[in-house]
Each structure stands twice: as C-alpha cells, then as structure tokens.
C-alpha cells in the first residue's frame, strides 16, 4: 500500500503536473475573477470565499482523469488488481495520492490567494480549515468518477459531467463554512456537515470506485 | 370556449405550450426510434431466413441467448 502511494507520489512529482498545474490553474481563476466582476474591493471580499472554493474545486477536477488513465493505458492497473492488495484499498490509496498532490497544495495556497481577493481577516483560518476538510471528499468523489470513465477514450468531459453534480453538497457546505467564517458568524453546523460528508465519502466511496474498476477491468 | 385567463394568459399558455411540446417531442422520438429498430430487425431476420436456410433456425436460439447474456 505504502509502496503504491510512494510510487504515485513520485510519478506525480516527476511528471511535474501534480502540484504545478492545479496550483497554476487555481491562481489563474483567482486572477481572472476581478477582471470579470470589477476591481471593487467590497464586491471581491463578498464573493472571495465562494470564488476560492469554486476555483479549488475546478482545479481538483482538472487532474482527476490522470488518477487511473495512465495506469489503465500501460496495464499497471491490471497488475494492481491482481496483486494481494484489495482493489478498494488501491482506490483509497489513489485518492489519497490525488489529495496529497492536489488537495493539500490547494488548501495551503488558498489563504495566500485570499489576499488577492481581499478576503476579510477572520475568513483565512476557516477557509483553510474548510478546504482541508472538504478537499478529501473532492478527491474521493473524483476517484469514483475516474474509475467509472476509465475505459472511455477522451472521457475528461464526460467525467466532469458526472462528477460535478456529485460535488454539490460538498461545495455548498464548504463554501458556507468559508463564507460564514469570513463574516464572523456561527459555523458549527455547516462545519459538522462538511466533516460528515467528507468522512462518509472517504469511508464508502472507495468501495464504489473499486466496483467500477472491476467492471472496467473485466 | 376559451376561458378568460386575465393578465396571466401569456404565462399560462406558454407553460402549456412548452410542456405539451416537450411531451410530444419525447413521445414522437420514442415512436420513431421504435419503428426504426423494428424495421431493421425485421429486415435482418427476413434476410437470415431467406439467405441461410436451415442454419438460421438453429442459430436463432443461440443469438437470443447471446442477447440475453450480452
């Protein structure tokens, strides 16, 4: 398991795409936002939590199709499936690797980018916390979507269509935590809901992803 | 005959129009698709019977089984 995790991480770093691409995309989205809505700082600080969440979500989506695609093409996925490691475990590891290379850097970068959007000071902590709690769910849901579409050629667009509706609850609660945090309101309820969704996704979705993988490898 | 819809006539009529148009679309599309596949299947089975003679009969249960098993 750890070997697989280490291998995935090494591949992601060596390809240079993992950290770099998603972060650059995130930066661009945040940079383009003021061009679209105007440089008014009051407006920006109002929409900052939502934009940051949306940007992180899209950046996360961007790298999903690489979770299984390369292993599928060169046949490594068949080897993983026949190895003693249960496929559920492999799916969970893949999701973890995706989170470490995408979700974690995005979480760390978000407060920095928050400065650009004039995020109110109390929001920084809650934004980082909500992303830290929410991005694992995004990675696991995305792993499930990638497992469904791994056999489809050029399945990236299809996967977005499938995965984005599944992101709705996570996005709602995550952005709500960040927004309420920025406005210094009570955040306990959405925070608990976000944590619950994240934990449930991490616990259950690897099974669904493994089921989809088995069908695709048949 | 036409009821007096008052100032909301436009909304009510367009709601009925849109809904009936959508229902008609899905119905007509389904019927057209159904006709097309039925004709294709009939043509294919007719071709098999005339073209291949006794092998068609022995093959038919197998193909259905294949269809059932995927």
């Amino acid at each position: 398991m750890i070997a697989l995790l280490a291998r995935d991480l090494r591949l992601a770093i060596r390809a240079g795409g993992g950290f770099g691409l998603a972060l650059a995309f995130f930066l661009i989205v945040v940079t383009l936002t003021p061009f679209a809505v105007g440089p008014n700082t009051a407006t920006l600080s109002l929409i900052a939590p939502g934009i940051l969440w949306l940007g992180a979500l899209l950046a996360c989506l961007l790298s999903l199709d690489r979770i299984f695609a390369l292993d599928w093409e060169d046949g490594a996925l068949d080897l993983i499936a026949t190895s003693p490691l249960p496929l559920e475990g492999a799916a969970a590891i893949k999701a973890a690797a995706h989170w470490l290379t995408t979700g974690l850097p995005l979480t760390l970068a978000a407060p920095v980018l928050g400065v650009l959007l004039n995020l109110p000071p109390p929001g920084f902590l809650w934004l980082a916390l909500s992303l830290a709690l929410g991005t694992p769910a995004l990675s696991v849901i995305g792993t499930f979507g990638a497992a469904l579409t791994v056999g489809v050629k050029r399945g990236g667009l299809l996967m977005s269509l499938i995965v984005l509706p599944l992101y709705v609850p996570t996005l709602i609660f995550g952005a709500e935590v960040a927004r309420r945090g920025a406005e210094a309101q009570a955040i306990a309820t959405p925070l608990a809901a976000l944590a619950a969704i994240s934990l449930a996704c991490v616990a259950l979705l690897p099974f669904a992803a493994a089921a989809a993988l088995r069908v695709n490898l048949r | 005959m036409m009821p007096d819809l008052g100032k909301y006539a436009l909304w009510v009529l367009s709601a009925y129009g849109v809904s009936i148009a959508l229902l008609a679309t899905i119905t007509v599309l389904s019927i057209l698709q159904s006709r097309r596949t039925r004709r294709a299947l009939q043509a294919m089975e007719a071709g098999r019977k005339t073209g291949q003679g006794e092998s068609a009969r022995s093959a038919t249960p197998g193909t259905v089984k294949e269809a059932a098993n995927g």
Binding site: G151, L166, P190 | A40, M44, G62
Partner: protein
C-alpha cells in the same frame, strides 16, 4: 441455464406488446380529460389568478421526474443483483423520459414563478434541487452513451445511479440548509397536497394519473426498442463471426 433468461425478454415483449395499445389509449384519455378539465373548467385562484392552472402540468411532471429516478434506482439494483437484462434496459429507457419530465417541471416552475415571484428563477431549494436532478440525468445518459459494451455500460450506470441517488438526497438537504442561510424561511413554494382545494384537486389527480400512464407507456416502448437494438447487435456480431 438460459431458458429463464431466454423466456424473460420474450415474455416482456409479448406482454408489453399486448398492453401498449391499451396503455396509449388510457394515457390519451387521462391526459385529455385532466388537462381539459384543468384548463377550461376550473376557477381561478383568488390569489394566483389563472396561473393556478399551471399546477396541472407542474406537479405531475415534478412527481414523475423524481419517480423516474426512483424507478431507475430499483431497476439498477435488480440488474446488479439478479443480472436481469430487461431491468437494465428499462433503466436506460427511463432516463430520457425522466429528464424530460424534470425539464417540464423546471420550465413550468419558471413560468409560474415569473408572474408570482417576479422572477424567472429563484434559487429556492426545491427549484434548485430539480436543476441538480436534471444534471444527474444528463450525466447518467452521457455515461450510457459513452460506453460501447452494453453489459459494462449497464454495470457502470447502475453503480452511478446508486451513488447518484445518495448524493441527490444529500444535495436536497444541503440546498435546504443553504437557502435558509441566505434568506430566512422563504416559503413561497406551492404546496399542492396541503392547500389545494377539491376543485383543483380532482383534475390534478386525473393529470397525475395521465402522467404516470404516459411514463409507463414510454418506458415500455423505449425498453422494447432497446431489446430490439440489442438483438440487432447480437445478430450482427454473429454474422461477422460466421463470416470470418
């Protein structure tokens, strides 16, 4: 082993073939009676004016938009557990029909909302969850269309339907919470079962029956199409194999 499986599509074809003309007749009757009754022979609501007539379309289609997904969930489960092919094909056949109903519910909702709420689109949790449901239908249909092997497609869409159902329910609760967060207790939505008077209720019931029948008829028809298409594919494969 195959007798049971062989008999089932055939029996399905026979039964639905016999039932379809009656179903169509009943559907047409119910829809004609219900919509005519609702449109021509019901009074205006004192508050909503003539827009109350939109509920004869809105409520049944919304109901069927959800029920179609529930039916797909059940048939997907049957497919995953029993490997019953007609079941998987019925789920595939139901998806576009359900999406159409959902779209009608959204369109009529917007057309009702414009004069009543003064806006085409309110991010009301009910409306929004229908939009999300529509997106789920789109993803589901796209997955069916993208995968070539029919059994793989049936398996994967079934899994997606199961996971999607859970997330659809989650989204529903998240949206209720989210909208409360924005503006407190905006209970503008039309609660048909609770405050609708008998005068509106009976034609509504007929319309609901008509929509249910229409759904069943369409699903039967489309499932028959799918079974025939599958048969064609099998025959083609066989022809190719014997030629090779």
């Amino acid at each position: 082993m195959s007798l049971w499986e062989y008999a089932n599509p055939t029996r399905f074809m026979r039964v639905t073939g016999a039932a379809l003309p009656w179903l169509w007749a009943l559907t047409a009757l119910c829809l004609a009676v219900g919509l005519t009754w609702g449109f021509f022979f019901t009074p205006d609501d004192f508050r909503q004016g003539s827009t109350v007539k939109i509920i004869y379309l809105h409520v049944p289609s919304a109901l069927m938009g959800i029920n179609a997904w529930l039916m797909m969930l059940v048939t997907s489960l049957i497919w995953l557990i029993r490997r019953h092919h007609v079941s998987a094909l019925a789920a595939k056949a139901a998806a576009p029909v359900g999406a159409t109903f959902t779209l009608i519910a959204l369109a009529t909702g917007a057309l009702w909302g414009q004069p009543m709420w003064g806006t085409w689109w309110e991010w009301d949790p009910r409306l929004t969850s229908f939009l999300v449901l529509f997106l789920f239908y789109l993803g589901y249909m796209a997955l069916w269309a993208a995968i070539e092997d029919p059994d793989t497609a049936a398996d994967l869409t079934s899994v997606l339907c199961l996971v999607g159902s859970v997330f659809a329910i989650l989204s529903r609760y998240a949206l209720v919470f989210w909208n409360q967060g924005l503006h407190q207790g905006a209970s503008l939505s039309l609660d048909a079962e609770e405050n609708v008077h008998d005068v509106f209720w009976y034609p509504l019931l007929v319309c609901i029956a008509g929509f249910v029948l229409l759904f069943v008829a369409l699903v039967f028809l489309r499932t028959r199409t799918e079974i025939r298409a599958r048969r064609i594919k099998a025959l083609e494969t066989r022809a190719r194999m014997s030629a090779a």
